[in-house]
């Protein structure tokens, strides 16, 4: 199957989301930005342990895709998953507590930043093994198809994941079985430190979809409306039972791979970083909302303030939460275990 990406993209309806939808996406983007900006400060202040991979600059991807998901839909993401998890509706207080390694964390501080799971809102997991979530998403799609309630699965990963065997195996099986999975490649140009030109022979990763016989579409990951449109069609297609779609979102990671990796020490030209920051996804949406008379500057400010207040409250909740008792490390290895037997 030959793929004409321009034609695939042109097929997407140019429908404009309504005021409430645009406001929600704006709120999501601002919330993720403020949450992670604070995380970086907390990490640098030594208040967060472990490793931290932030998503700053890529927020339009999570907002534009997750707006189409219902609570009962499933979401899988990568080590860079804070944005997706928040966009899917996870409790921010408990998420912050998880990052603070507190007992009240979503995963009782067993998972941490790279492994957040929130079953209550369908987050089946952030996953720190690159591409491992692709076959898992396929399996969640199998369960969704079996249940027959129109659930879909959104699976986020980076450009680096598309070179992994698990990506190939998982997406091929989802395609073969027409499973309701939307695979979203956030092509932020770097696989850890390695630039795309050094990890793939092709420029447009979406063409890989042709090898699986499924639609491959692209959008500007800095344009939330463009993301919204491609995701709308992909999610609808999955809900209709027509199988998976591969979406490539061209985006950019402002920070190094992990917060402890200095950005300049890894060979990214200053001009490149500056050029992408000039295309930050939040200001264009603000301009659109103002110019179209959808929100006033006061209303925008109120959304920002509310998001900031949520982040502050989450931090306060986390700081006030107890640390886990050490001996609870032995809990939850198995759901069922012979009474009295040592682990």
């Amino acid at each position: 199957m030959a793929v004409d990406l321009s034609r695939e993209n042109a097929a997407v309806a140019e429908e404009m989301p309504d005021r409430a939808t645009l406001s929600r996406m704006y709120e999501t983007m601002v919330t993720i930005r403020l949450f992670e900006t604070r995380l970086v400060e907390l990490f640098n202040a030594g208040k967060l342990g472990g490793v931290l991979h932030v998503y700053i600059g890529e927020e339009a991807c999570a907002a534009g895709v997750c707006i189409h998901l219902e609570t009962h839909d499933y979401l899988l993401t990568s080590h860079r998953g804070h944005g997706h998890v928040l966009a899917k509706g996870a409790d921010m207080n408990r998420m912050m507590a998880e990052l603070f390694a507190r007992e009240t964390g979503l995963c009782r501080a067993r998972g941490g930043s790279m492994h957040i799971i929130d079953r209550s809102v369908g987050v089946l997991g952030a996953n720190a093994i690159v591409a491992a979530n692709v076959p898992i998403a396929t399996g969640a799609g199998l369960a969704a198809k079996w249940r027959g309630e129109g659930q879909v699965v959104a699976c986020f990963f980076g450009d680096g994941a598309t070179n992994h065997g698990a990506f190939h195996e998982g997406i091929n099986l989802a395609a073969l079985w027409d499973l309701p999975v939307v695979f979203i490649c956030e092509n932020n140009r770097y696989a850890q430190f390695t630039p795309q030109r050094m990890h793939a022979k092709i420029e447009d990763l979406a063409i890989r979809a042709a090898g699986y016989g499924i639609p491959g579409v692209q959008a500007d990951g800095q344009d939330v409306l463009a993301v919204y449109r491609v995701a709308q069609e992909a999610v609808a297609r999955a809900r209709r039972g027509e199988g998976p779609t591969f979406i490539e979102l061209k985006t950019y990671r402002y920070t190094g791979h992990a917060i402890s990796n200095p950005i300049c020490a890894i060979g990214r030209p200053d001009e490149e970083v500056a050029a992408w920051k000039a295309r930050d996804p939040i200001p264009p949406l603000e301009r659109h909302l103002l110019e179209q008379g959808l929100l006033t500057s006061t209303e925008l400010r109120a959304i920002q303030d509310a998001a900031a207040a949520r982040v502050a409250a989450a931090e306060a909740f986390a700081e006030a939460s107890p640390r886990p008792r050490p001996e609870t490390a032995l809990e939850d290895v198995y759901a069922e275990w012979p009474v009295g037997a040592p682990l």
Binding site: H115, D118, I136, G139, N172, P338
Partner: protein, 333 residues
């Protein structure tokens, strides 16, 4: 073993496994089989799943590409989302290509979620040597998995055990690796007509004896029993044969009680000796029953090499009756 008065048939190991799968497919619509060439007319490389796709359809017996990472990963995802998948890895050796999904995913997700999610899945795989299939189709890799907290490991040695344990494994809320032995599929044994379950973590004393405890797994269990019967018939040591049946969880109590009675222990497995289950068990017994032991613990295992092709070489590596008997005699009074 079978309940008193119940109707009992002789079934092959393969048929007992098929019955377990069939009964669970009938019982629970969430059960789905995922693997290579399990559908009819193939019915699996060893004929275990023959007839199931005809009866239950190809939505429930799902034929996959040769993609072990996808087979296991798909089972993980389906389990997370409410199904009870049974994945089949045709030869246990192939699990190496899907290892991340076993070790970093299936085994970890419940723990990393703080107990929010379960991963109720089974991976069935044919292990062991004996078919002149050489080093990539003959391994006994159970030790890899007993080293990974979060997964359970089952190795049945009889048709009765295989059926009862597989049914339990499918209903278990945790990931279970169910290792079948490819040379035992034709073995016959009694299996009751009516339904039964065997709990995980309960060893079976296959033969009671006074003088030496021999713990044997999988195909080594019937081999040790043959040695025991021959020794008994010729006035040799009286062997107590214990099959742990599940390595994780391990029924330490039954083995410890036996060693405290016989004061002697031989451990027999087909996997290579180095870093094997025998080392783990010997350590447990050494720590918990040291003062009861009247002789050094003996391990009888494959030599530390890959499995070769030539039957002459293959047979040499794996513990045979002569090596088992020699180890028993070494420490028997």
């Amino acid at each position: 073993m079978a309940g008193g008065g119940a109707a009992v048939r002789e079934l092959q190991y393969r048929d007992a496994i098929r019955e377990a799968l069939r009964e669970e497919l009938l019982r629970d619509p969430a059960v789905v089989l995922i693997g290579e060439e399990m559908i009819d007319p193939w019915g699996g490389t060893f004929g275990v799943t023959k007839g199931l796709s005809t009866e239950f359809g190809e939505e429930r017996i799902r034929n996959t590409p040769i993609s072990e990472a996808a087979i296991i990963g798909c089972a993980v995802g389906a389990a997370l989302a409410g199904m009870r998948p049974v994945a089949e890895i045709m030869f246990l050796d192939f699990i190496a290509t899907g290892m991340d999904q076993v070790v970093n995913q299936a085994a970890k997700l419940r723990y990393m979620s703080g107990g929010q999610v379960n991963v109720p899945m089974v991976i069935r795989a044919a292990g062991g040597s004996g078919r002149a299939s050489a080093a990539q189709h003959s391994q006994s890799l159970e030790a890899w998995f007993i080293h990974v907290p979060g997964i359970k490991v089952v190795m049945p040695s009889t048709p009765y055990d295989a059926k009862g344990l597989l049914k339990t494994a499918i209903r278990d809320p945790d990931p279970v690796l169910f290792i079948e032995h490819k040379m035992m599929y034709n073995n016959k044994g009694p299996v009751p007509e009516e339904e039964y379950l065997i709990p995980l973590g309960v060893a079976d004393i296959k033969r009671a004896g006074r003088d030496v405890t021999v713990v044997a797994t999988s195909r080594m269990a019937p081999r040790v029993l043959a040695v025991a019967e021959r020794l008994a018939a010729t006035g040799g040591p009286d062997i107590e044969v214990i099959d742990p049946r599940t390595l994780v969880p391990l029924d330490r109590a039954t083995i410890l009680a036996s060693v405290r009675k016989t004061h002697r222990l031989v451990i027999v497995h087909e996997a290579v000796e180095r870093g094997g289950f025998g080392a783990e068990l010997a350590s447990i017994i050494g720590a918990e029953a040291f003062t009861y032991l009247d002789a050094p613990i003996q391990r009888v295992a494959a030599f530390n090499t890959p499995v070769p092709f030539a039957p002459d070489l293959e047979d040499f590596l794996v513990p045979d009756e002569a090596r088992i008997e020699a180890a028993v005699r070494e420490i028997a009074v």
